[in-house]
């Protein structure tokens, strides 16, 4: 996020697109609700009439995968009606002309045709964005889990630059990150093209800095493979050995059969985790890890806030801290690593190697609580808002001319509905944790497929009835939840329970992945539903 969660409570306008915040980020949503009660305007854009829509001034129920056309339509109105921030665009951005030419192709009538949102609503949203300033753009995986995920994000950046809503309180482009430490895993360089602190692996100076610090002659200059490329590289032999640390890939990636086949092709597979799960049966070696509360360290939240995680107990049996495991393997390759705790790793390595975290030290986290990076020195209070005064990392903000492309798998006669998937309030991903927490399982012991009243009536399906949801990959039997929140032609499911996991229906074929980010289309897959009895 460029901004902070607390701003939701005092912003003038929130533009939420593809975020089911009340279930996926419930505490953040409480600030949004506080804001709405205090007069914050709220625009909600989502294929589901989910809870946020209940609080919205304007709700747009768009078709799955139509985001770019819809947003371009809004920007068309902003430009035509002169509602954009000319000063910001001229002084802080570039490539406006090419971008504006592209936008010309998306009048509200066309945006409406593609997105299913009435033209008048598109105009109304544009006028609210153009007159109530600033606005925070907030999104989640509803934006990124598409073949056009990266382009969806860039379109939102276009919108905020056009409105001049960058670098100000109550503005910005704000992705709500999913896992507790997905921001941190990025920050730490668990990425094929970046060392920790977003330092590029193909920069010779950066590479030398890391090689010198770690005490090796050199480091390779070519970025590595992304997850999907690694998984799919196993059957082709591009990758021979694979190490999975704390991810239940079989249950959480699209098409478990495909993932299983890939993992089975590995010559050697290491799985490091706290429980057996759907992925561990494919391992050659399973390494038992310390869990949350069994080791000292830090998490970084979606607002770039680094906070302490503290140990209260020893790991059970012989389970060991994860960093210890990596250190022992390094040792067997002849490298003695100096750090022996989370504190030493952060204070003596991470914060030394990464200018953005240089001022974050354990003693400060212990004294004052979390610190938001960038934090360049120990006197620095941290940075709640990025790109202050329109200063972007690359200099000027770059407008991109972006075309809408349809989802890779369109509904057709055989599979006429679109399935979208995600997470529900009570559970988390494949339930390795929430499935073992008393109360949570009782509250939600099984999964259901949300379908529209119209589709249920058409097929004679009643609420709670077990139905078949089928795609080109497979089928699941699951209870129907007939809901007014679902538009006709749509099915919504989670991936919490193995038997009814939406991933059985999705495709692991890379043609259904965003070509740049290799993110699967978790939000768009053609299916049909059938009555069983």
């Amino acid at each position: 996020m460029t901004n902070t969660i607390g701003e939701f409570a005092k912003a003038k306008l929130l533009f939420c697109i593809g975020t089911n915040m009340t279930e996926a980020h419930p505490v953040a949503a409480t600030y949004l609700k506080n804001g709405v009660r205090n007069g914050t305007k709220l625009i909600v854009v989502d294929p589901r009439r989910q809870e946020l829509a209940d609080y919205a001034d304007i709700f747009a129920q768009l078709r799955i995968g139509s985001d770019i056309a819809f947003l371009n339509g809004i920007m068309h109105v902003l430009i035509k009606e002169n509602l954009y921030d000319k000063k910001f665009v001229e002084e802080k951005c570039e490539n406006f002309e090419e971008f504006a030419e592209k936008i010309e192709e998306y009048p509200p009538s066309r945006a409406s045709e593609i997105s299913g949102v009435p033209e008048s609503t598109i105009v109304e949203i544009a006028r609210m964005l153009g007159t109530v300033k600033p606005a925070m753009v907030i999104y989640t995986l509803g934006i990124t889990e598409h073949v056009s995920g990266k382009r969806n994000v860039m379109t939102l950046a276009n919108l905020q630059m056009l409105l001049g809503n960058m670098g100000v309180e109550g503005g910005g482009v704000n992705p709500m990150r999913g896992q507790n430490n997905v921001q941190g895993a990025c920050d730490m360089g668990a990425l094929p093209n970046m060392f920790c602190g977003y330092q590029k692996v193909d920069s010779p100076e950066i590479s030398k800095k890391f090689a010198d610090f770690w005490g090796v002659d050199s480091l390779p200059g070519q970025p590595g493979l992304k997850i999907a490329e690694m998984i799919n590289g196993l059957p082709t032999g591009r990758l021979k050995a694979f190490w999975i640390f704390g991810e239940n890939l079989v249950a959480t990636e699209p098409d478990p059969r495909h993932v299983s086949h890939c993992l089975n092709s590995a010559e050697f597979l290491v799985v490091q985790d706290i429980f057996r799960n759907e992925t561990t049966p494919f391992a050659d070696v399973i390494l038992p890890s310390a869990a949350w509360s069994e080791d000292d360290g830090t998490f970084t939240n979606t607002e770039r806030r680094v906070s302490r995680v503290r140990k209260i107990k020893e790991a059970p049996g012989e389970a060991r801290p994860n960093w210890w495991i990596f250190k022992q393997v390094a040792k067997r390759f002849g490298h003695e690593w100096p750090s022996n705790s989370g504190r030493e790793l952060w204070d003596n390595e991470i914060s030394v190697l990464c200018p953005a975290f240089a001022g974050v030290k354990f003693f400060r986290l212990d004294n004052i609580g979390g610190i938001q990076w960038p934090c360049p020195n120990e006197e620095h209070p941290g940075t709640p808002i990025l790109h202050k005064d329109g200063k972007f990392s690359r200099g000027k903000g770059l407008f991109q001319a972006i075309d809408w492309v349809p989802s890779s798998e369109q509904p057709d006669g055989e599979y006429p509905l679109v399935l979208s998937s995600g997470r529900r309030l009570v559970h988390y991903h494949s339930r390795t944790q929430t499935g073992r927490a008393k109360g949570l399982n009782e509250r939600m012991p099984e999964e259901f497929a949300d379908i529209s009243v119209q589709d249920a009536e058409r097929l004679g399906i009643s609420h709670g009835e077990v139905i078949r949801v089928k795609s080109r990959r497979g089928e699941v039997r699951i209870k129907a939840n007939v809901s007014k929140r679902i538009a006709p032609g749509m099915v919504w499911m989670s991936f919490h329970f193995w038997e009814t996991n939406a991933n059985h229906l999705l495709s692991g074929d890379l043609k259904h992945f965003d070509p740049d980010t290799m993110t699967p289309s978790f939000k768009a897959c053609a299916v049909r539903i059938e009555k069983i009895a």
């Binding site: 902070t4 607390g6 980020h25 505490v27 409480t30 506080n34 990124t144 507790n180 430490n181 941190g184 895993a185 990025c186 360089g189 668990a190 990425l191 094929p192 692996v201 770690w214 090796v216 390779p220 690694m230 021979k240 050995a241 640390f245 704390g246 959480t252 050697f268 429980f275 057996r276 050659d284 070696v285 399973i286 390494l287 038992p288 869990a291 949350w292 509360s293 360290g297 998490f299 939240n301 607002e303 680094v306 302490r308 995680v309 209260i312 059970p316 049996g317 012989e318 389970a319 060991r320 801290p321 960093w323 990596f326 390759f333 790793l345 952060w346 979390g370 929430t434 109360g439 699967p520």
Partner: protein, 365 residues
Amino acid sequence: METHRIRAVINGREITSEPGVTILQAARANSIRIPSLCDHPALPPSGACRVCLVEVEKNPKLLPACTTPLTDGMVVDAFSPKALAARKAVVEMILIRHPLDCFSCESNGRCELQDLAYELGIEESPFRDDGDVCTEHELDDTNPFFIRDMNKCILCGRCVRACDHQSGYHAIDFQFRGIKTMINPPVGSKLEESDCVFCGQCVQMCPVGALTEKKAVGQGRAWQTKTVRTTCPYCGVGCQLDLHVNGDRIARVTGTEDGMPNLGRLCVKGRFGYDFIYSDERLTKPLIRVRKGEKKSPDDEFREASWDEALDLVSSRLNEVMQKHGPDAVGGVSCARSLNEDSYSMQKLFRMVFQNHNVDHCARV
């Protein structure tokens, strides 16, 4: 223009304050104590319980500190004989109905009513007659997360305001009139069928034992637990949690009231989803696959191994693959749920030791 600061005296201490705050807020900001019960700094004031009645010079009547704005020149005394007598009477009246089964009450030791009675030297209510103690409500333990003992409810309304203001659901409110007044979801509905999402914010805000966490039962008294602040293991909001720890067990979890970004707020997973770490199903020993045949098969079993054996095997097999196929034939994914220091170590291992950049995690999903 410089804002005018208010000058006042509270409990004998001179203070200055921004305008627009209550007497109680100004006192808290200056670390001056005024006893209170229905008020909580995270909630809008309501003035329900009258425990915070204070004597203010030139005011013939006692004033509730939680709802009275501080004004210039006020001289406030929370412990004058008149204020103390009133406070004592207020608490004695609350105690007419409140059961005195502190012995078995889950909140013993952190009950704000108990603390007030102790401070004011009250053993039991002089206004209480036989049969006054509230026993009419059945214990409500139908939801999987917390127990509602409405006999112990003192109607301070903190839960109502927490649900409304902090959680934004307003699933519960005052119901019925007079002596029958109680806190409930809408008439005729059970909590499980109401708008309640079981975030448990009401439980955290309850000053007595009317709302208590199921999993905390028998896990230790307040004085037996220590508080350890940490960060929630679920979503990317990164809520700050106070773990109330007894030995190596988490007795219960509350939101850290001054912790950013959640300021004491939690959701159902953050508050109630912690006990997976104690599961009997945890992996506790390194395991090595025992192949039944040449190829991997679902029938293969795993045998326990020492760390040395498992790590030697991992190292030698990875080394073999790299010798045969080059360093790029090895790859790994890190964990977006684990510590920064773990992800740092994994990418260091791949980059520095294995000499490739094949390290990723679920960043873009």
